[in-house]
Structure formats: C-alpha cells, structure tokens
Subunit: 494 residues, 2 copies
Amino acid sequence: MTLFSRTLRCQAAFRRFPVELSSPGAPGTFNNIRKLSQTFSRTSCRAPVEAVAVRGKMNNNNYPLDYSRGGIKEFNQRFLDSAARGDLAEISGLLGAVDINVKSERGWTALMFAARNGQTHVISILIERGCDVNCLNASGQTALEIARFWNHSEAASVLSQHKQGVEFDQIHNYFSLNPLYRASEMRKDTAGLQAAKNNMSTKFVLFSDQKPFLLRSEEPSRKYKFAVFNINQLGTELLERGTVIFLGLETWDPDSNAWFAVDIKEELSDIGPKFFPEGKYATPFPVTMQMEPTQAGIFAEAHSVLCWLDKYKFCSTCGSATKIAEGGYKRVCQNWECSSNKGVQNTCYPRVDPSLIMLVVSPDKKDCLLGRQKRFPPKMYSCLAGFMEPGECLEDTCRREVEEESGIKVGRVDYHSSQPWPFPAVLMLGCIAYARTSALKVDTSELEEARWFSRAEVAQMLAGQHPHGLYVPPGEAIAHQLIKSWVASSFSNL
Amino acid sequence: MTLFSRTLRCQAAFRRFPVELSSPGAPGTFNNIRKLSQTFSRTSCRAPVEAVAVRGKMNNNNYPLDYSRGGIKEFNQRFLDSAARGDLAEISGLLGAVDINVKSERGWTALMFAARNGQTHVISILIERGCDVNCLNASGQTALEIARFWNHSEAASVLSQHKQGVEFDQIHNYFSLNPLYRASEMRKDTAGLQAAKNNMSTKFVLFSDQKPFLLRSEEPSRKYKFAVFNINQLGTELLERGTVIFLGLETWDPDSNAWFAVDIKEELSDIGPKFFPEGKYATPFPVTMQMEPTQAGIFAEAHSVLCWLDKYKFCSTCGSATKIAEGGYKRVCQNWECSSNKGVQNTCYPRVDPSLIMLVVSPDKKDCLLGRQKRFPPKMYSCLAGFMEPGECLEDTCRREVEEESGIKVGRVDYHSSQPWPFPAVLMLGCIAYARTSALKVDTSELEEARWFSRAEVAQMLAGQHPHGLYVPPGEAIAHQLIKSWVASSFSNL
C-alpha cells in the first residue's frame, strides 16, 4: 500500500473540508488555501528563519505577485527597473516600500535583473538586505545562473560566495523547524517535570482531541500561531484531566523555559476561548501548513506524540491498559507480568513511519515523472511516494515503489532531504531517482495518471504559469522542494 | 534513549552468548565469530553479489590473510610479486590457486601492487577476473589512489573507468540484499496466496519462536543459509498452526516461485531436523551476520515481520485480539466497533523504526569521533547512533544525538546509505556529520567513552592492525561502511 493510500488521504482535505478557522477573507476552499499559501510564501518568513538560522536554511517558494493593486504595482516596477539600471539611490529609497523579493510577471526578482546586467553593487546591497538568492524565475533560473549565462563573472562570484557563505547549506523543510531542544534526559525526571509545569514562565500549547488551538498571527499575512498559555490560566486540575507531553526547552540551558502540549477532551475545551476569544480549535490539515514555520515544527512534535498516545492506549503484547510515562514519550503496560515490561521493547515508544518520496528523472535527464492520485485536487501533480517496509533500505523502497506504480525501472537513487509529516507521524525521505527505462505502465489502482513532464513545463507549474493551470504542491511540501531542486539543477543540462 | 540502549543490546550477544549452531570448529565466543566474519569477508561473496548485481554493489570487508598455512603462503607471495612485476603468464597460472583478493601483511592486494608499478595490462586482467577494486590497504588507500599517487595515469584511468562502469555505483549494505520481489499487490489475494502455498515449487523458510532454521552453506567458508522446505515436507496442518507470511516472488513474473516464512512454536519444531538432521534453530544475532548475503536479506524481511506479528497481537486502540491478514503484513482488530477498523490506521501495519548512525568528522577533517558502549566487546569502537523522534528530520536527529551524547555541535549532515537492522525492525540511516566544535563532553549514562581518532589510527582499526588491538564493527555493519568510506575519501585531504 502506498503512502498516498495510507496518509495522503489528508490531502483530500484540501478539497473537501472547509478550514475551521473561519474569519472574513479566509473561506476554506482549496483555492483559497492555495492563495493563503502564496501570500504566506510571498511575504516570506524571514524573522522565524533567522531565529533558526543556525539550524540550516529554509527554502522559500515564490509566486508571481498579484498586480491588481494599482499603487504598489508602480513602486514594484520602479524597484525592478532601478535594479536593472543599477540605480542604487532609487533602490535604497524604495526598499522600505516594496517586498525585496517582488517578482515581475515572468517571475524575475530585482536580484535577477541586477544579475542580468552585471550590477554587482546592487546585488551586494540586495543580499545584505536579506533577499532570497535561491528564487527561481518562470524558466527555473536562479540569479546566479542568469549572471553566469550573461558572462557577468564578478556578479556570479558574489552570488555564489553568498550561497557558500551560509554556515552550512542544507535544506530544512517545513515542519522540521522546531526551535526547541527536546531535552530527552529530563523525561525520566518526574519531579523535575512536575516542577517545570508549575513554573510561571513555562509555556503550554493546547489541543482538543488533537486539534490545535490557534490564533491569527499578528503579521499582515494570514498565518496562524499557537495560543500560548501559562499554568495559572490552565490550572493544575485541567492538566491532570488532560494528556500532557513535555516538548522541550527553549535552549540547551536546563534553566530555560520549558514547553508542554496539553490535549483535552471536548467538554473541557472552553478553556481556550476563555483567554483568547478570537482563537479556534482547528482541524490540523491543511491549516497547520499556514503556521509560522517554527511553530509548525512544534506542532509536528506535539501532534505526532499526542496522536500516538491516543491510538496506542492498550498494550499490543497482552491487551492490558497502559500508562503514560516519561513526559509522554513512553507507554508502560500495567500488567506487570507482560513481556513488554521485560527488557526494552519498541512497543512502548512513539512510532515514526519512514516513507519515500521521489522525483524520478528520465534516462535522458530531460523529463521528470509526476503522478496524480484520484483524491488530489484537480490539476495538481506530485511526486510518487510510498511507505518503507521491514527489511528494506531506502534505495530499494524507491525502486520498488516506482516500478510498482509506474512500471519504470530505477537505477541510482540520491537522498535529497527529509520532512516530518505529522499526520500522524510519517518521516518523508525525499530522493531523486534516476530512471533506466521510460515506458510507462501505470498501476491505476494506485494512481489516476502518471506521465513525463519536460523541465520547461514543470518550471511553469512551479511558477503558477502553466497554460492549462496544472500545478504542483506548495512550498511547504517536500514534493515541491524535490521538483524545484531538479528544475534548478537541470538548468545547466539544457 | 539511544539506539544502542534500545537495540544494540544485541551486540552484547557477540560477547555473552554462544552461537547456537554448534559444530567442531565453530565455538561461539565473540573472537571466533569475528574470525568467521573475516573468513566470510576474505573469501568474498561473489556468487550472491552477482545474483543481485542489478540492485547495486556490495562493499566487501577485507582483512589481512592468515599466513599460518605454509604452501598457500608461497603461492600468495608469488602471485603478489608477479602482479608487481607485470608477469601476466605467471599471474594467469596462479589465478586458479589463490584468492584474487589475497593481501600482503600491509594489506596490499595484487591490484594494488600492479597499480603501484603502473602495470596496466595486469590491472585489466585482474578486474576482468572479478577482483575487488574497492579494497583498502592498511593505510586506507585503494588501488586507484595508489596509481594516482605514483602518477600512473593510464592505470588510474582504467581503475576509475571500472568504478564508473558499474551500472550504478551505490552501496548496498548487508541485510538489504533481499533478491525477492515483494509483490505487495498479491497480499490481498487470499485465494491466490493459498494456491501459492500449495504449489510444489513454492519455497518455505522455517522459524521457531523467531529463530531461523539454518544449515551450513556448502561453500568452503563457514557461512549459513536457510533450509528450504516445500509444502509436502511441512504439510498444510503445520502451516495452519504456525504463523505464515508471504515474502515475495523470485521475479516480477507473477508465475515465478513464491517464498513464505513459517514461524512455529517449540512443540512443533521437530519438523526441521526431520528433513535436515544437520540443521539448527539459531538465536538470530550474531549468527545471521554470517549468512549468504541474499539470504540475510530474506531473513531481514521475515524476521522483522514475524517479530511484529508476535509482539503486536492485541489492538493498541481498544485492547481486543487481532487477526493476521494480507499475507502477514496487516493485523485487523476483531472488535468491529473499534476505530482502528475505520479509515486507514498505521496501528495495523508493521512498524519500522528509523534511526540515525553517524560518523562525525572533526572541524579540521583530520579526525573522526568514535564511541564505546559499556556493552560493547572490549576494544571495539563504533559510530554514535540514536532513534529518530516524531517531528524530526534526519539531519536534526543527527545534530541532537551527537550533541546529547558527546557535547559536539554538528553543522552539515550528509546521507551515506541505509541498512535494515532486523532486531526487530530498525532502519539505520547512515550519515557523515561535520562537526563545528571539538571539545568533548561525553554523556556517561549513554557512552563509556567517546574520543577523536586520527585517520591513520582508524585505518589500522579497519585493517585489524591496531597496535593495541582496537577495532571497529565488521563489514556487515553499516558503521564499518561509514568509517571505511571516510578513511577512503579523506585520503586526498592528507
């Protein structure tokens, strides 16, 4: 059974279910969620990313700007023009008024226009002011590739130095930007955890039946964040009646603030709106795809563990009831004769299900394979994927799943990056797979369609400019990052 | 809790438990197991590897030859000398009498001597005859590196062409060489599986309480293989009383031979010796580290699934009894009101626990970090490792585990290869981690010791030539491959 069949049922939520956080301007159809995603991406998430800069670099997804608003359009055009001309004075004046990553209709940023014309001084200023050097235009080019193409070697040098200048150049996918230190050594310290719960600086995030209690972020874009509670607001009785898990500390310093998640039953759920009347308990998917990235990382940890605690209440070895231990990271069988209490058993620990998701590249390297589940929203195509099985290595899972679903034989498999997918606790291992054959034989029980797409067509899908409206998942999904990475890297093969 | 604490308890078996397959010459102490491993590695596993050549390339682990046997020693010396001299006639004559990968006391193969002296014609013949081009000498050099060092460009070219000439150059670790096609689409076809069980050409491997029933391999080296049964030998009644799982087909052709594993209780276990009096039920670890590699892959699938079926007999959601379905790959709750029977639940499917194992490289790239668990056999050092947690990406697990256990901060993390570790169902994701700090602060609750080792010292440990007898795990463990890979790749940094 593929990953899609088992968990990407969630994706159907894109289409079927309204977003629970209702408010004017956020109706819950898929297309509106997609627009939310675009807004989210376009306005970027610099602050949270800076907060986790030491942990890696996050890829942003950029969409063409909506030009419907008159005045802004003029500012943006002037900004892009001045970058192309190298007019530093005008650029400096406009930087406060425009989004530094604003794009032209063809998806060109100011950095790209500067790169096109070798305006090295403009490039330096834009980078210094935090622009995204990894943006792609509608042809799938980065500013660096544009500078190289037009032989502006000094500009190319500045651009490539910057890429190497980050502490370590490694993708961090959405849901993996949890800033907390998990402090697993504290989990067995029951008294220490109890003391931490009663500390007024300790932070609690709230769930009701695994639905997070969220607020609108203060940022102008329509994103969500956790409502954060303290012990006085929740009260010790509520903690005793709910499921409480220890998420970690704000830093490696044991005296730093602790974070907990509390999952309560519906009858207790008034506690959220009592302190935050504007907050709502939200069905997690797809709302949590629109959270502030660091908070989405905290959500990923909390939601996965809470779902496990809820679905694994009984001992699988003897059927007896179990008790939560170690800050929520263990379940102990209450039948002391049970063999799961002897030695170390994986039955007691939270489950993480490894799965593979792969962009398959054609033998001539010019095309990639994308597929459609029947449950996908119309016109969306994505990477193939499937769960790993016992006794398999990652590369063989990739070869097996691709051959099962599409009939394509895969040779080499390169790991790309990974992403926790907290519905409920999947580890997505993203790969680029090199096909040795190209004749398709699609398994229609798994896929509605799978076909080869040219690099140019995929670049259009990424940029939201496909003539027939085809598109790929948003930047918060690892599939998007795999596709984008291939489009960018294959530019030099053209 | 680290991986070591949770599953590498098995490694203690190396030291504590005798090998159950008793026979003259195979006493079960760790040191003898280690010798077995050396024999296993030295005589290589060409036939099984060829059988899975299409699936990738297996790394061999080579140890210096035992020179205690007089006559062989002379042949070997003549063979190595003739390779150095370029004497093709003598080489051809000796090839039938010696192991083509035989090593000198410093760990040099004939290929290395030929590379040292630029004997390109000898190199071609040795490669044609199937020698291992990836062997390392006691200094951690490959033949290619030796040829490059001595400026024999033609020889280096032949050696590097060969490396690229394999269909795809990708490591396949031990336990991942399962040659069967899993045919997951057949699992739901109950009638088809029943018919397959009754087919006389179907093959059964036998377990009793998860212990595999093994024979000595006919190969001169002391390796093990499954005893393979047919339906007439086992009988349908025994299949009904045991736990039967469908392992797969011999090829992608649905008419090819099916394989099943049967796990029976001790009271039925006479069936094995009845047909194979020389066979034994073996405690899986460490005996299965000495199996023919393709059979070890079949063991990995069978053992992981059988252990899961045994430990997960009750529904974790409601505590009711469950029933095995889908050829052993699913458990269904017998309480039809249970929520695990509604929608798709990961509670019903076999569990695979992803874990990280990492070779940490020092900031100056000259040293690597190895550690010792108290349970390790004396003088063995290995990579750090730990389980992934819900909501983590692979790279962050690596950074967290290394910092927790050693105090070292890690920057970039590169994926290397993966290995199923079927005790009971771990997925080992092997990485190379680049440290940003070097001051150690070892967590002594997790590790007895951790320290930096120079590349030269690690090369000695790999080659079994460390002056104080320190060593690393054998080639069947992914830790060995990570270490070996770093030693080989860092040669050019010296």
